[in-house]
């Protein structure tokens, strides 16, 4: 299974530097649909639309702007954004190691895996094994998509997992949720414990599936059997490339290029 590369750079601890790629640890499971235009069943795409020029604009015509006054923007290029924290945009520097037992799971945000890039396999494996032996995790700062995260790097099933953490100030306090005075009720606690013990089992997440997904799949299967398909107009894809005449001329020229090579 090809892992999608989200970021690449180096992870380091003290003087050891390991080239790595960040890949996804979570695959969305929902059934994905396309949106179609009711008129002619042509595909709808989510695009950024310029209301002045009344057309969809390509990602490279788009720049990020920070609104400093209503309607007045300061724009930032990718290069400028990458240079805000240049020491961290391509490097994950482990500042210290911690005991994961000390980390309240409420701090966990999003999980990823790190895989070694060429040449880094040995140092990668070393970090995995020694963190496993010592039962520790590495704490680092990391910048991804213009956000700075505090991350925990852990040894998990022979690989390095990277989990972004929330900052302390992002965790809301829970102190005011409980009534001030709650008297303990030992009998009730004992009863509760017994109820629970009767229901203890091993964790088997495979038992649980998203009911809605199954219903949608069943519905789709039924429709396929009825041969209830619609077709989108074929020309949709080509329009993207440019004026029809030009595209045709380029295709003709390309044909010649390929013939002569």
């Amino acid at each position: 299974m090809a892992a999608q590369g989200i970021w690449n750079g180096t992870i380091s601890f003290s003087l050891v530097a390991i080239p790595v790629r960040l890949v996804t640890a979570v695959m969305p499971g929902h059934v994905s649909f396309h949106l179609l235009h009711s008129k002619d069943y042509s595909r709808l795409a989510r695009k950024m639309f310029c209301p002045v020029e009344e057309r969809a604009v390509a990602p490279d015509e788009i720049i990020r702007g920070y609104e400093i006054l209503p309607g007045k923007y300061i724009t930032m290029t990718d290069e400028e954004l990458e240079s805000v924290s240049p020491e961290r945009s391509r490097t994950i520097e482990i500042i210290e190691f911690i005991d994961m037992k000390d980390v309240d799971p409420i701090y966990f945000d999003h999980p990823y895996y790190l895989v070694p890039a060429k040449g880094g396999e040995k140092a990668y494996q070393l970090l995995v094994e020694v963190m496993g032996r010592t039962n520790k995790a590495g704490l680092a700062k990391f910048i991804l998509a213009e956000r700075e995260y505090l991350v925990a790097v852990t040894s998990k099933d022979g690989a390095l997992a990277l989990t972004t953490l929330h900052y302390s100030e992002e965790i809301l306090p829970d102190g005011d949720l409980l009534p001030k005075k709650v008297s303990a009720d030992p009998a009730e606690e004992a009863r509760m414990e017994k109820s629970i013990k009767d229901m203890v089992a091993d964790f088997d997440p495979g038992k649980y599936a998203d009911g809605r997904r199954k219903k949608i799949r069943d519905l789709l299967d039924a429709k396929v059997k009825e041969h209830a398909l619609v077709e989108a107009p074929a020309m949709a894809e080509k329009e993207e490339e440019g004026p029809a005449d030009l595209v045709a001329a380029l295709e003709e020229s390309m044909r010649k290029v390929k013939e002569s090579r």
Partner: protein, 256 residues
């Protein structure tokens, strides 16, 4: 203070019913940027554009189609889809309890705080029991037209509800196809010593979002018309596999 009440529901298992209110447990803050069309700096917004006439399409003209082949779709109309939506039923059904340590952290998705609603006599004993036995309640519920699977846990005296990812959504480390590389016992020993030397207690309050501050400074500088200095990202030279032991030993010396 915790976020506003999102939803009211009843935790149920066996003879036990505990009415609770859900609250957000995490609040994220970030500098908001808008996306602009570069030449004229007009704000662009995401719209659903028809591939054929290249214009935005209103909601009533949007149909959902499942692709079965090149350009071929099965149309699902809104009524049919509505029928697949689960009924919201104000109940968190706990099916079993498992040792909390058995739950792989990669399954954890969002977390909510639970506040006891009126007449929630079972709340405190439940929290106490979960703590005492070190278990989590595996449960399912439906909220706002979506089915959820989660873990009910205690943190001190407060109950939390964690939504979990489904088994087929979690990528296993095995699928990464990592090669095993032989390491010497010396490398492993020195490496372990180094880690122990660099170990510190977890103090999350030490860490601030510095990037946010620097980004704001850069925006302010640009707003004043000052030149900003663009620095290339720092790239570290990877450690050569043959040098690993030496580098570990040098690191250990440095850490001492």
């Amino acid at each position: 203070m915790a976020g506003a009440t999102i939803w009211k529901v009843i935790i149920h298992f066996g003879d036990t019913d505990v009415p609770v209110k859900l609250h957000s447990a995490v609040k994220e803050e970030r500098i908001q940027f808008h996306l602009l069309h570069e030449p004229d700096q007009v704000r662009v917004r995401q719209q659903l554009i028809c591939a054929l006439d290249k214009q935005p399409v209103p909601a009533e003209e949007q149909f959902k189609g499942f692709e079965v082949g090149e350009g071929k779709y099965i149309l699902l109309d809104p009524e049919e889809l509505e029928q697949t939506v689960p009924e919201s039923d104000r109940k968190i059904e706990v099916h079993e309890f498992v040792k909390t340590t058995q739950i792989d952290p990669h399954f954890l998705d969002r977390v909510y705080y639970l506040e006891p609603d009126v007449q929630a006599k079972g709340y405190a004993p439940l929290a106490a029991a979960l703590n005492e036995l070190d278990v989590s309640g595996i449960c399912t519920w439906t909220m706002r037209k979506r089915s959820y699977f989660g873990a009910l846990q205690a943190s001190g005296k407060v109950l939390r509800l964690n939504t979990l990812r489904y088994a087929d959504e979690v990528v296993s480390a095995r699928s990464l196809d990592l090669q095993k590389v032989p390491l010497t016992e010396k490398e492993l020993t020195i490496g372990s010593e180094l880690i122990e030397k660099l170990t510190a207690p977890f103090e999350p309050r030490k860490f601030e979002n510095e990037h946010q501050k620097k980004l704001q400074e850069m925006i302010d500088k640009k707003a004043r018309g000052e030149n900003i200095v663009v620095m290339a990202p720092r790239r570290l030279k990877p450690t050569e596999p043959d040098n690993l032991l030496q580098v570990l030993e040098a690191s250990l010396k440095k850490a001492a």
